[in-house]
């Protein structure tokens, strides 16, 4: 399955964080690469949404939504915003 990019989760992130997030800077916790959210690789067809670093493929963020509740895992990020 082809990845899309962080533009595709603009709505999800706005729902979680309450503001536009696609231009927010991120830093990969594994390789240290800085990118805007829109530039990250997004796998939306996994069970949940998995966001990976395009440079080293590490998992940066995971979102799982059930019954209007969204669980968020940001453990792969060194920085967000």
């Amino acid at each position: 399955m082809d990845a899309v990019d962080g533009n595709a989760i603009g709505g999800l992130l706005q729902q979680v964080f309450g503001r536009e997030m696609t231009t927010t800077e991120t830093v990969c916790g594994t390789c240290g690469t800085s990118r805007q959210v829109a530039e990250l690789a997004v796998y939306a067809h996994a069970p949940g949404t998995v966001v990976r670093c395009p440079s080293c493929d590490s998992v940066l963020m995971v979102f799982v939504t059930m019954h209007d509740r969204t669980c968020v895992d940001l453990m792969g990020l060194a920085a967000l915003g």
Binding site: N7, Q14, A38
Partner: protein, 247 residues
């Protein structure tokens, strides 16, 4: 509270379908009336949510095809095994309701005060947000020079062809038809590659602003070629639709 849109909060709302227009055999433009629409920027998208009888929900993002200030219109390509697009292109009729939220996105957007010249690279239905940018440019009176390179499978797959051929001043449109070309076709007939970009794209020394949208493989190849030719990475905006189709 339903119907009370807090600033910054994104709420699902019911839009009314005003009209459905065929663009190509597999592409429809859906004009919608959204009760609480705060206005949008060129390049933004909406999320659409379909709920079946069992309560199963499927959600997809669709680019806004209209310019800021125009009624909201979405252009949707039918993906044959898709969960959402076949309903939107085949079943939806004027008067139907559609659950959506938006506008969404702040990265893949263009404003008339952004520097130029402007390079737009479209693969298949990746033309949709770029069409919003072109219309916004024209409506805002911007004179920034634009080159659009549009990769489609065949001439019949070119979306907005009449509008693109009736182009505004200082807008150049170049097609490449990757699968089938009409008799006498003298344009490009292959996937976008560095040699084609060297001929079509603005030279890097003009510090162009580029928007690249389409299937993921198209966007990867085209944006990497631009950066290798000297485009500033921060001035190459990308939006990947996934899949392989359409370009």
């Amino acid at each position: 509270m339903a119907g009370t849109a807090l600033r910054g909060r994104l709420t699902w709302q019911l839009a009314k379908v005003v009209a459905v227009t065929a663009e190509t055999a597999s592409v429809r433009t859906i004009a919608v009336d959204v009760p609480e629409w705060p206005g949008h920027q060129a390049g933004q998208h909406v999320d659409i949510r379909l709920t079946d009888e069992d309560g199963y929900m499927a959600e997809r993002s669709y680019s806004i095809a209209s310019a800021p200030g125009e009624p909201v219109a979405l252009t949707v390509e039918r993906i044959d095994d898709g969960e959402v697009s076949p309903y939107l292109t085949d079943e939806l009729r004027a008067g139907d309701s559609l659950e959506l939220r938006g506008p969404i996105g702040g990265y893949f957007v263009w404003e008339p005060e952004d520097a130029g010249p402007l390079l737009l690279l479209a693969g298949g239905s990746g033309i949709v947000p770029l069409r919003s940018i072109l219309r916004h440019r024209e409506r805002s009176g911007s004179s920034v020079p634009v080159r659009l390179l549009y990769s489609a499978r065949t001439l019949d797959d070119v979306i907005y062809q009449g509008e693109l051929d009736n182009r505004a001043a200082r807008v150049e449109v170049v097609y490449t038809l990757t699968r089938h070309q009409p008799p006498g076709w003298s344009g490009y007939a292959r996937r976008v590659d560095p040699a084609m970009l060297a001929e079509v794209a603005w030279p890097a020394r003009m510090t162009p602003l580029a928007y690249v949208c389409g299937p993921t493989s198209f966007v990867e190849a085209a944006s990497q070629a631009l950066v290798r030719s000297g485009y500033q990475p921060g001035l190459v905006k990308t939006e990947r639709f996934g899949g392989t189709g359409g370009s």
